[in-house]
Symmetry: C2
Subunit: 535 residues, 2 copies
Amino acid sequence: MRLCERPSVCALMVLCAAAVSVHGGNVLVWYTEGSHWINLKPVLETLVDKGHGVTVLLPNTSLYMSASEPSRYRYEPFNTSITMDGFDEFLQAFLHFAIYESTHMSYLQIFARLVEQINMDIELQLRYLDGVLKSPSVMAKLREGRYDVLLADPIYVGSEMVAEMLDIPLVFTLRFSVAHTMERLCGQLPAPPSFVPGTLIKLTDRMSFGERLSNFLFYASQDMLAAWFWKDIDGYYTEYRGKPTSMCEMIGRVDIWLIRTYWDFDFPRPFLPNFKFVGGIHCRPAKPLPQEIEEFVQSSGEDGIVVFTLGSVIKNISADRANVIASALAQVPQKVLWRYGGKKPETLGSNTRIYNWIPQNDLLGHPKAKAFITHGGTNGIYEAIYHGVPMLGIPMFADQPDNMVHIEAKGAARVLHYNTMQSQDLLDALRTVIHEPSYKESVMRLSSIHHDRPLSPRDEAVFWIEFTMRNKGARHLRVQAHNLTWYQYHSLDVILLLLSVGLLLTLLLVKSCGFCVGRCCGRTRNMKNSKSKAE
Amino acid sequence: MRLCERPSVCALMVLCAAAVSVHGGNVLVWYTEGSHWINLKPVLETLVDKGHGVTVLLPNTSLYMSASEPSRYRYEPFNTSITMDGFDEFLQAFLHFAIYESTHMSYLQIFARLVEQINMDIELQLRYLDGVLKSPSVMAKLREGRYDVLLADPIYVGSEMVAEMLDIPLVFTLRFSVAHTMERLCGQLPAPPSFVPGTLIKLTDRMSFGERLSNFLFYASQDMLAAWFWKDIDGYYTEYRGKPTSMCEMIGRVDIWLIRTYWDFDFPRPFLPNFKFVGGIHCRPAKPLPQEIEEFVQSSGEDGIVVFTLGSVIKNISADRANVIASALAQVPQKVLWRYGGKKPETLGSNTRIYNWIPQNDLLGHPKAKAFITHGGTNGIYEAIYHGVPMLGIPMFADQPDNMVHIEAKGAARVLHYNTMQSQDLLDALRTVIHEPSYKESVMRLSSIHHDRPLSPRDEAVFWIEFTMRNKGARHLRVQAHNLTWYQYHSLDVILLLLSVGLLLTLLLVKSCGFCVGRCCGRTRNMKNSKSKAE
């Protein structure tokens, strides 16, 4: 078959190459939770817009996903043995540990508790996975669905196994794994510890010797931990398939990795052809505000507004912290919109209004937005970058402190410590990000980097999902490194051989020299002996 | 300044982000030669189409560039002390060595001759550079030009120094440097020798231990050679600026590297955010053929045509080789169009026509094209990939043998050795690529990879050139690795410290154990002694 029979058709084909799409593709979406689900939805909407069928696996226990939510995609429900209360209990215990308890703990205690938490999390995830893999009816439905691709956020384990069982391509969408262990060990993403800080370590790409040492040890320790934690999953997979199976090797077959950062937020680093950086995938222009909020915003006059949220997971904070925050906010001339589910703080100023929910993106995109007080979640940060609003970070847990280190290093944010900050600290920092021009300039530079790329992050993500469907995978983007052992990858066997040969040659040389010198000296001695005898 | 004041405007802005361009930008283009110039022209045409002013530096001695050629860009001529005869003599001597002489030489002789050739080439290049850098009038004109960017193929040295003197961003467009030395050592492009074969080594990304060893040694030796050759250029730069200057460090400041390959032709490998792969930048749909050629092509009927060229540099071959080729071609049912400047071979068949020049791209894009006999230049290979035509490679010199190894490994070509092939070999190989379906299927797969990307290579190249103009560089894409030494990059100082600490702790442990054992044994001995004394 010719690619094109007539020049004019051919020209049209080439011009339209970027616009080609697979109408009627069939996308299966892995279950996820929290901000991960928020992030995924705009991509699914775009896929539906482009004529694809989208089916989302939906567990009966979910905080964020719900079949009753109006949407244009189909749900494929499955049952798990986890109760909503049990799930919420696990989450709240983790939050309490991460935000409060850990501040009074030694490193060893934190480590022990983290290991316990992660083991519990893996157990929880495998119980979710039971609901799909070990349910003959769900697996039968998935097989009947004849899906073209499985789109998964690997925050919940198991998609690689289901893709393997259904024999369909797999596209990952993820923000990070700790120290990039999954991307590095399973995806072969190169990450020299000398200038690529591991996620969560709170370092930038400019590291001192001590920081490089920390980063190196962080990578090494996380690799060991990952190998340990993944053993449980390998055991589960091995039992399920009845033959030795490694999760990491299976993940190595992922066709496309959609990484939810870009060079506006992340530091430039080496990557691979099947890694696509689509940070800000959920960002969109601001929509008009509800009337009551718009009136409050307009009442701020020239001073403008401050948008404040600690994210969707944190519903409540202690009265002490709430009062520290409220009394600082009361002293700025801006109007403040605070998303907060707790009791009204006593020190709340008349310029501050508390909401159970705020249209965060629309507020950040409003011309009057002057600053964004954030817990440092990637979604919020990306909305601030998208709309060009300077940030004040009060990170709480997970990747939040690390995220804020990035934005602070790029000059677009100040950062405070939630547990130790006082009203004056918050007030000073807020005034600084609003009135010091460098913060606005920096965030506008990041905003320009964000917008000035050949394809929007959502279009890029959708392109590669469609590409994977069209081509039944993306094998031509997969490096051969997947077929090498770690010592082969780093050429250690080659170096060892060369060193051995070098050593052998040196020894031979030294021996030969010794032999020659010996012969030479021996002859001289013999000659001397003969001489003395003759005398 | 707000990014956008109204949501509707904002939406429009985001939607149009990919289409944003800098009208009236001012692009300075570095002089180049041969296929490099052929490759550059379509990009310059597109830049002119998009409203930019394009000025090309033009030496008075050039085989391919000419101010009399109709074009829409302006030329900035400069004089060199090189004569056309001298230049052609140098080129012909190199070709004769590469194609004929080297086949009868030992490796040591080839190496010595190559070193001599490269030294001559560097001398020649620096004489060209004299015409720009050391001409006050040319430099004054370039300063007055107020260019926004310098676009250069680094096949001719010096653009990095001129960009530095003019204080403007620099975009490189290149196919390769030997063993990627320039990209690796100056651009910090990672290239693990275990799965990234160095350009020219004729290996694929699937290497045996021996091949990995060869590749490792190839990288190492080329690095040493490069350091040696670049010393002359460093000396020239240091003398010019009156302070120590390194060419490689200067190249490290290149904003965007446009690499003229893609994953259709190249093997997937790690890369960096400022490396963009735009292979096939010059490809375009086929235009109608001249009437005489179209009639000859149509006369081929169902059998179709074979397109045959050994490239623009090779004008003539020996009578023996020409007859070997012609007699093979005479035996196929296809009509053959052979671009050849030499004497008509005696064995030429009636199905073969010789042309001084052929519309190669239009022939390859013709529905009747069945095979392409090529010397393996990247431009021709990309046209065959673009149009989906299986190849038969007869590589001659430079990157041609290496290029054909790529296409052969991807199943879209057979390869023959120019000096040793016989008529029957050529005939068998040609029949195979025409009649064995796997070759057509493979090249169609490569063609699909080539076309199925978010942006055409030309649009991508132009986007990043415009990006560099808009943003006065692309510093946010530049990795911090540039600020590390080689041992810092590979964390060797960190590893040395850890090994030392490990060794010290082991020694301490061994000593302590020895001490304890000693004390313990000593006490036992003393007790035994006391006991025997008591007895």
